[in-house]
Amino acid sequence: MTTATKTPPAPGPVRAADPGARARRRARLSRGLRLTVLLVFLVVFLIPIYVLLVTSFKPLTEADPSRAWALPEVWTFEPWRVAWEKLAPGIWNSVLLAVPGSLISAALGSMNGYVLSKWRFPGADVLFTLFLFGMFIPYQGVMIPLVQLLVELNEITRDLTGASGVFYGAIPGLLLAHVVYGIPICTLIFRNYYVTIPDELIEAARVDGAGMLRTYRSVVLPVSGPAFAVVVIWQFTSLWNDFLFAVFLTGPQSWPTTVMLNNIAGAQTVPYSQQMAAALLASIPTMIIYVLLGRFFMRGLMAGALKG
């Protein structure tokens, strides 16, 4: 900048330089505003979590409404201990359900997805759409027949093996239901993933004389890791959090976490601190998965929106 010319600058250029600065200032302002609004929503979103945590560490002496939002004066693990005692059988049932359930679902989904994307037969698209409808049906619409079928299966297994109550009112029946109704979403996730494998790879294996299963094993399976992660995590979360099937298909011996939790929380006699501790306990496995493997969980979510 030289000061050789003493003439004051014409208004034009100065004004022209101004919009740049003003735009920058406006951008800064809008960024600050956006951040503020997002932070406000963040606080609002975390309110339930705060309540759960704070309440779950309160001793019974602090159950007064006036201290509802206050931090505990004395922190205690007692509600957690009692909640664990009450909930433990349900958690064990949920593990027995969700671990095998998610693995079986992934195996089925992978095979279906492979065939529907890389080893297609006439009418594959229509069939796939018919599968997808199964993803959206309200399960109320199949619940009564499903109960009847499982009751029948109970009688058949009793006549054959003498074991009573294997399907209806037990974990295997609930597992069967979840695996079957999980087929659509698992097939969808794997199909959308396998579509991205270049057809040339499949063709090359074919030319080398590999059949369908060989091609699957040597070409497709080795790159399936991410899709397996998405499906296993997605199904595990769905099975763990399910309440509808559990309420209709299980009995006191086989109640999973959600039903147990609802019974604990539904009882008027159980103090809030224990209810909140039980709700947190019931959510721990899915929360850990979300924190550690949220990426895969997200992709499962997105698949549900039918975006390839």
Partner: protein, 292 residues
């Protein structure tokens, strides 16, 4: 033929399972709805659509349908608006976006039952001295006059019931819209700016039209969740009539009234309500895939 037959064989177990458990059982349920099997033991004979008509004479059914409508409207538009707003605020990139995203989406990983436990406490209807939850918080913030009955309010109770559902699902809508926003090619926006479009103009004429498929997906997903809502209602208020919805009514009909035909009729109505917009959506999706 030799090429595709093995594939068909591999999928056959799933085809049979879906045929029996989805289509077979939906049909079976419809048939049951058309009988007079109103107890556990009788055979039940065919009565046509009689149950579908007489259901409307029941006061509880009318109430539960009204509730489902109020819940659906508040929940779907609430989650759609909030999700869209959050996505819009984050779209241009913001410091700590990952953290924001993770926290808004985090409720999705929790069961509706656990959500229900904490929201029942938050939406406790007690007021004044005995107030806990949000009523106590309002009082503490000097907004004591805004205390109300929440889901126990006779007129707007179902709107309150939609609040935890919005809390749980708006992060999902945000994620959908964010993916949609990011999918709009930057060249297109640039071109519009060069043509003298304002930022708002770019948004209105370029971004919004491209977001239509995303919005439709979000609508369908929220809508079908809303029409079959069950866990949340049971966890917050149990089987009370004040918050009754068709899915809860069906549960009561099957387990408390021991009336299979009535339960099947209610279930059929829920299936019909969902099918009305899911089937066109699936057909549209299939067509779009074929085109691309």
């Amino acid at each position: 033929m030799r090429r595709w037959l093995p594939g068909l064989l591999l999928v056959t177990p799933s085809i049979i399972a879906i045929a029996v458990f989805v289509y077979g059982m939906l049909g079976w349920n419809f048939r049951l709805a058309m009988t007079d099997k109103h107890d556990e033991v009788s055979e039940g004979s065919f009565v046509g659509l009689e149950n579908f008509v007489t259901l409307w004479d029941q006061k509880r059914w009318g109430i539960s349908v009204d509730h489902a409508i109020v819940f659906t409207v508040v929940f779907v538009f609430g989650a759609l608006l909030l999700g869209w707003l959050l996505a819009l605020l984050m779209e241009k990139g913001i410091r700590g976006e990952g953290t924001f995203r993770a926290i808004y989406l985090f409720p999705m990983a929790i069961s509706f039952v656990a959500t229900g436990v904490v929201w029942r406490w938050l939406m406790n209807s007690a007021q004044g001295e005995r107030a806990v939850g949000l009523n106590r918080l309002l009082d503490g913030l000097g907004l004591g006059s805004f205390q109300w009955g929440w889901f126990r309010d006779p007129d707007w109770g179902m709107a309150a019931m939609a609040v935890p559902a919005i809390w749980q699902m708006s992060g999902y809508v945000m994620a959908l819209f964010l993916a949609g926003f990011r999918g709009v090619p930057e060249e297109l926006r640039e071109a519009a700016r060069v043509d003298g479009c304002t930022e708002w103009g770019v948004y209105r004429h370029i971004v919004l039209p491209l977001l239509r498929p995303v919005t439709l997906s979000a609508l369908i997903i929220l809508g079908h969740i809303s029409l079959k809502v069950f866990d949340l209602i049971v966890a917050v208020s149990g089987k009370q009539i004040i918050t009754d919805v068709p899915a809860v009514f069906m549960w009561v009909a099957v387990f408390d009234s021991h009336d299979p035909a009535k339960g099947a009729t209610i279930a059929s109505y829920i299936v019909l309500a969902v099918s009305v917009f899911v089937i066109p959506y699936l057909v549209w999706t299939l067509r779009r895939e074929r085109r691309s």
